[in-house]
């Protein structure tokens, strides 16, 4: 991890120094142990603040589109962009690189203006899970490839494999998407068994309808509607979100269970076929809701029904913006006399 951090600082400094890029998106050490901050380095000196550790959990591609836009000159709608706009560098792991692929496809970021450095990823650690074991009083954390060491907590060290974030523990694409990377740093990646990748979802699917409803309503009852899940997500960029619409008001704004449920269903649904399971929403949620279970379920269905995975093939149309005549339709109600003919 230290090697990768060193590499990022060095490359970012070189790129900034040579003016190939005007800004580099990465992480900086946070004010508390086990926290990091999004950081935009704008000079070689600032690049020395960049860090890489197992608590870089908030997806950095989230701030890429707005940063790219900030370099664009003011212009009227329809006016073309100048060709020689400044470039931005960003260091991305597997899931983030797939977000990048989607942003390129959805025209949220221009591929010409992004220098992407691919990172090997061994998975990120779950701060809340660690705090539950060590207590809140941890003052310092250090890490090696296998272990984390704590000062001040009730536990001295933990194995990294034991406190992986659930999305990292079920990740099967830790390698950055090579076709859209400018350069790739080689290194070990986490190696998960693809067979169990949807185990969390299957566990819930196995319940009956009442059981699933009990799970859903209790899981999301703690939501305080701060929308950090939405705002931490690189896929959410609508100028006006459906929750902010007033006429019609799709979702009420108070803490009503029906409104909260519908918000979460729609938020997840808007990510269908686009979510790369980066875990940014869960990392951001102050209440620790397992928001990923909904998006992961959609992931699973998209794989099953349309044989597509978000961003893995960066130039293939996204599953919901295309179709096939042979798409499955077992859910269609058939008139009774034609039953059995059509399958």
């Amino acid at each position: 991890m230290n090697k990768i951090g060193e590499h990022i600082r060095q490359r970012a400094a070189e790129l900034l120094e040579s003016r190939e890029i005007d800004a580099f998106i990465g992480f900086r050490q946070g004010s508390l142990p086990m926290t990091t901050q999004h950081y935009v380095a704008r000079s070689a000196a600032e690049a020395q603040n960049l860090v890489w550790n197992s608590f870089c959990v908030l997806n950095p591609t989230n701030i890429l589109p707005s940063l790219l836009k900030s370099f664009e000159p003011p212009r009227r709608p329809g006016d073309p962009l100048p060709d020689d706009l400044p470039k931005v560098g960003i260091a991305v792991t597997g899931c983030w690189s797939r977000n990048l692929a989607i942003q390129f496809q959805e025209n949220q970021a221009s591929r010409k203006r992004v220098i992407a450095i691919g990172l090997p990823c061994t998975g990120m650690s779950d701060r809340r899970q660690i705090l539950a074991q060590t207590g809140e009083m941890v003052t310092e954390v250090s890490e090696t490839a296998e272990d984390l060491y704590f000062t001040g907590g009730t536990v001295a060290s933990l194995k990294r494999t034991e406190i992986l974030r659930p999305n990292c523990a079920s990740c099967v694409h830790p390698q950055p998407v090579a076709r859209i990377m400018t350069e790739v740093i080689e290194g070990d990646c986490i190696n998960n068994d693809a067979a169990g990748r949807f185990a969390e979802v299957e566990e819930i699917e196995a319940k009956d309808s009442d059981g699933r409803w009990d799970w859903f309503s209790s899981e999301f009852s703690a939501c305080i509607r701060c929308y950090s899940c939405r705002n931490a997500c690189p896929l959410c960029y609508c100028p006006t979100c459906f929750v902010d619409d007033a006429k019609p008001q799709w979702v009420g704004k108070g803490l009503n269970s029906s409104d909260t449920s519908i918000f979460h269903i729609l938020r997840a649904y808007h990510c269908a076929g686009r979510c790369t399971d980066c875990g940014s929403c869960e990392a951001a949620c102050p209440m620790g809701l397992r928001l990923r279970l909904l998006t992961k379920k959609l992931d699973k269905d998209v794989v099953d029904m349309f044989d597509s995975e978000a961003g893995v093939e960066p130039f293939k149309p996204l599953p919901l913006s295309t179709y096939s005549q042979a798409d499955p339709q077992p859910f269609i109600v058939q008139p009774s006399h034609s039953k059995g003919e059509d399958s």
Binding site: T139, E219, I224, N231
Partner: protein
Amino acid sequence: MKTLKLSNDELQGWLASWQQKHAIYAPQLGTDASKPQFHDWALLDGDEMPQLPTGVVKNSIKRFYLPQPQTMGTFSIDKRQADAFIIKETLPDSAKKQILLGARPCDARAILLKNQILASDPYFQAAREKNIVVGVTCSDQAPTCFCHKTGASPLAFIGMDIALSQTDEGWLAEIITPRGEELAGNGAEASEAKIAELKEKRDAIKQCSPAHGFKEQPMQEMYDAPLWQGLSDRCISCGTCTFLCPTCTCFDIQDETSGNTGRRIRIWDSCMTALFTAHTSGHNPRGTKLSRVRQRFMHKLKYYPDDYGPLYCVGCGRCVRDCPTNIDIREVIEDLQS
């Protein structure tokens, strides 16, 4: 004010007698093991004094004073009715008391600070009438706690009706208000030595708590400070800080209907969201993220202190602990001071 010495059993006796008459809310650990474990407010079952975590629990006691949503009035949208579209105001029933057991000094103080702004708000005043605060002072501070830097103290009792302090043998109960006196049960008066010991601890903390503000700093200078750019670069505009904050008071009013009935509700608003202070015309005086991030800190550190005196931050550290991008108000205060 009198101070009583209670054993654990005696306190349990108090709780048992309160349970007969009132609903008691207290911080409790979630029971579902599959979910992330943290303490949050829940209705207390039984008379067992709950184990409190170091520092504050997830949500502040704000939700008991400014419910989310607060129904302000109801109306009918049935045009055949004579009173269609006429809002009938509904005030909360403040006669039925409830007890907030285990509120921390920061939370209790936050309600008093809020009261400056909401002094003539009938809903808030009814809620103050309704809620009896039985606080527990902090013997330890969590890494995110910084109440002693905001002019408060982890051992303070202001804003509470009864303040409980844990000792080696049990509890010291300070009965602060007449309401607290009504509520308090029997107990032996604490010895002079015990009271002196508590006072000594309290004084020790106060000495190292500079109640600094930004009164002398020119407002324009703070407004134009360079740090807002860096903060807004990484702020993701979620409402975590404002919703978890015990002092944040801004609200939005909405009407909603179902079938032929409707209600007017007051809900929390957050200066972090783009719709905050947006005008119908489309103009927004705080149109950029930078100006909204600045608004939160300026309100807490400058505007409120200029009007009322103390900082509008009680140092509970909830925003520090749970901000997704680790925007730390302690760093902001330090940066502004230097």
